[in-house]
């Protein structure tokens, strides 16, 4: 019997998750619970966070910080990438700066932000934007450069205004790259926000993780971590749905199904 590929994929993922959970549960019988808490404790704590408003609020706070950071980096990155794409001479001035930014660890930015700024939210927004800006800029720039010369000339033959050219050609051309950039940067942003909150905030998942560390509460630490993983998975899935809808024009080979 041949299984539906999607069902097969689901069953494989479920099987590997169950094996991991079983291994964890077995470990919990042999090690102290502050090292390996039972699976049911983690599940209960995870659900409790989701149904208790003050705790859920912390998750939403972190989610909001991720969105603000990513949106800021995306806007700034696009504002940098499109002029670089149009006027390549600017590139040699801006690219070294972006490469330099990329080399600075997120934790260094946390320290710098704490020294430079007072407001918690501003600090976190700054850290999020500065750490994801280079990736957004390079990805939007790459998409812009992949614009077809043929389509550009065809569109120009109708003599569009700058805004119309941007709307009818540039946006659809860079859209797949933008969606990919969001997917990639979402994971990075989730990791950076936790570090930023851990060191410089009084709320959010990062702050809660710090509390669990002080209480030596492994079940709590895992439950808060799972919130972040769930958030990333849900947003990734939403981006995939948006991508599937916006890029529905792309042909798919039967062989690839």
């Amino acid at each position: 019997m041949t299984l539906n590929p999607r069902l097969r994929q689901f069953l494989q993922a479920t099987a590997s998750t169950l094996v991991l959970l079983a291994a964890w549960q077995i470990a919990s019988y042999f090690f102290p619970h502050y090292l390996f808490p039972p699976v049911q404790d983690i599940v209960v704590r995870t659900v409790r966070i989701l149904v208790t408003w003050p705790e859920l609020k912390q998750v939403l706070e972190t989610a909001m910080r991720i969105f603000v950071g990513l949106a800021g980096a995306f806007v700034l990155g696009s504002l940098l990438a499109i002029p670089i794409g149009r006027y390549p001479k600017i590139e040699s001035y801006i690219t070294p700066f972006l490469v330099f930014l990329q080399g600075i660890p997120a934790l260094s930015w946390v320290i710098i932000a704490i020294i430079w700024f007072h407001g918690t939210e501003f600090r976190i927004a700054f850290i999020m934007i500065i750490t994801t800006l280079p990736a957004f800029t390079f990805q939007v720039l790459d998409s812009y450069r992949s614009m077809s010369k043929d389509l550009f000339e065809m569109t120009m033959s109708f003599r569009p205004s700058g805004w119309t050219l941007f709307r009818v050609l540039i946006v659809p051309t860079i859209l797949p790259g933008i969606l990919t950039a969001w997917k990639i940067n979402l994971g990075n942003a989730a990791r950076v926000v936790v570090v930023a909150e851990l060191v410089g905030a009084t709320g959010g998942v990062g702050y809660e993780l710090l509390r669990q560390q002080q209480l030596f509460d492994m079940a709590g630490a895992l439950a808060w971590t799972i919130q972040l993983v769930l958030f990333v998975l849900v947003v990734q899935q939403i981006i995939v749905w948006i991508e599937n809808w916006l890029l529905r024009y792309r042909p798919v080979s039967e062989r690839a199904a």
Binding site: E153, M154, S157, F158, R159, V168, P172
Partner: protein, 268 residues
Amino acid sequence: MQESAPAPLIRFSNVTKEFAKPDGSGSFTAVDRLSFSIEKGEIVAVLGKTGCGKSTMFNLLAGLIEPTSGKVDVTGHDPFQDFNAFRGKIGIVFQNDRLMPWRTALDNVVLGLEILDARRSEAEVIARRWLSRLGLSGHEGDYPHALSGGMRQRVSIARAFAVEPDILLCDEPFSSLDEMTARDLRAEFVRLVKQAGKTAVFITHHINEAMDVGDRIMVFHRPARIAYEARMDAASKGAGRQAIQDEILKVLSLEAGEGMPPVPAVVA
């Protein structure tokens, strides 16, 4: 009093176009002191071997590139300098269909009208009419990947005609199609151009295509110089066809610059 002849719609005066070599070692000449004119309502077929500068001439005419020297004049304007003066006046059918893959057939035809700020509802009516005239009713909602090569090229023809341009520029539009489809589209193209009284420049490297489509044929030698010119009237499309074809073959077989004959007078 003698009536003066109307000014030509398109005029190339001693136009030269040079491109820098990619390795920076100087430049090469793609078009060399080219001069010709085209009257309103004429279909001029431009014929020549691959790489003879036909497409460069085409891009100069479309205002997509600037001449190194000389003057290109289209309806009294320089198509490169007065780029925006040609909004909606020039329609182009390219060698490949150049359809936007993210737009349906209908939206691809609407594109030019949308750029010219037509109302969406009106643009759709016009686009549907053109798709229907080109036998694509029922395919309005199809994306380009779902259409055959011939259908895609029809959409690109509809896109060019939909904006009601004064001048149509076609760069080997049917070269990638099978002979039957190309023949049908060729006939349809000539019918549409004549019916609407447009002026067209039709680039091709097929002698028969040039003779079928053009009111006049210009044969180019590298770097884009007119090596032969013939007017295709009823007689030359009939009994005189073979003589012109032979002459074109002879001209084309000559290497550029080697024993190239002087430009002969237009064969009436």
